[in-house]
């Protein structure tokens, strides 16, 4: 059976491998235009082109694509507004950008042979950017008062240092869970897809003998069902990333206001 992990291999595109290059500050690196790079570029261009096309000739009665764009825009706008509250508009561009980019990469992963969000390096970058923004916004807005985030005012006095310590570590764990949730969901889904697609191939080439007649319809149906599920997961994970970004931002933006 084919190796289901082969699809996650990052490899240089033919003709675009520049070999070892010495850069001024970084030093010697292996420079190449990889399939991961290509998938992210296509996702970026698709998102920009989609939004540019639907906003360029916006009509009062929207067409099909304008409705899609307006729905996505309105959804994230409602999200920042309802979770962060009064200041939500300020953080809308960041949340919308990260949502659309992740959604673009997830959905393109269903059409291309490579999913950029199933690379730990890509999702870790998103997790670290979000975490860094939360920490920077918290320090700029609250100064040293940001430490109140870890001080549970509702707990009994004896318990407060212990609960505060747990809160602190769970705060530090946020970028890791953000990263691994997206990475694990996309990788797990695509592995499952390829495993069942591999069963179909096994049945068709006759490696399973007459059992193939039983295996083929079962695993073909499973592949179709999983593909539909993966489209749902692709949207859901981008949405969940956006919601969690809003929740984490809300923690530091409205600190102490008991929003």
């Amino acid at each position: 059976m084919a190796d289901p992990l082969h699809q996650f291999k990052v490899q240089p595109l033919p003709g675009l491998d520049f070999g070892e290059v010495t850069l001024p500050v970084v030093g010697t690196v292996h420079l190449a235009f990889t399939n991961s790079h290509l998938a992210m570029t296509i996702a970026f261009l698709a998102v920009v082109a989609f939004l540019a096309v639907f906003t360029s000739n916006a009509k009062v009665v929207p067409g099909r694509f304008q409705v899609v764009g307006e729905t996505l825009f309105g959804m994230i706008d409602g999200l920042t507004d309802s979770i962060i509250g009064h200041d939500g508009r300020k953080y809308f561009p960041f949340v919308f950008t990260i949502f659309l980019f992740i959604l673009g990469m997830n959905l393109l992963g269903m059409f291309l042979s490579f999913t950029a969000t199933s690379q730990l390096a890509v999702t870790a970058t998103f997790g670290v950017i979000t975490f860094a923004l939360v920490v920077i916004v918290g320090i700029v807005k609250n100064g040293p008062g940001m430490l109140k985030l870890f001080w549970p005012s509702g707990a009994p006095l004896v318990m407060r240092p212990i609960v505060g310590l747990i809160e602190f570590f769970s705060f530090l764990l946020r970028p890791i869970t953000l990263t691994l949730r997206l990475f694990g969901n996309m990788m797990g889904g695509h592995i499952a897809l390829k495993v069942f697609a591999g069963f179909v191939a096994t049945a068709i080439v006759g490696a399973a003998g007459w059992f193939g007649l039983l295996i083929f319809p079962l695993s073909m149906g499973m592949t179709i069902g999983l593909t539909a599920l993966e489209f749902l997961v692709a949207f859901l994970q981008a949405f969940v990333f956006a919601v969690l970004t809003c929740i984490y931002l809300n923690d530091v933006v409205n600190l102490g206001h008991g929003h």
């Binding site: 992990l5 999200l79 869970t177 691994l180 949730r181 990475f183 694990g184 969901n185 990788m187 797990g188 859901l236 994970q237 949405f239 969940v240 919601v243 969690l244 929740i247």
Partner: protein, 74 residues
């Protein structure tokens, strides 16, 4: 025991963490359905909370899944 076999068995055992994620996600959706049937008019506004809760519960299982994959391919 053959180290290769021990590694594969270990990867399989690491996947047991997903049991907890399954119980957690099932609990969330089951309780949501129970609540939604009692008060259907309030259910629509809680869909966002439902999926965030499911994602948070699932993340802990994903940690075990990633650990299993790491053991498998290392």
């Amino acid at each position: 025991m053959d180290p290769q076999a021990a590694k594969l068995i270990g990867a399989g055992i690491a996947m047991c963490g997903m049991i907890g994620a399954g119980i957690g996600v099932g609990n969330i959706f089951g309780n949501f359905l129970a609540g939604a049937l009692r008060n259907p008019s309030a259910a629509g506004s809680q869909i966002g909370n439902l999926f965030v809760g499911a994602a948070l519960a699932e993340a802990l299982g994903i940690l075990a899944f990633v650990m299993g994959i790491l053991i498998w391919i290392s």
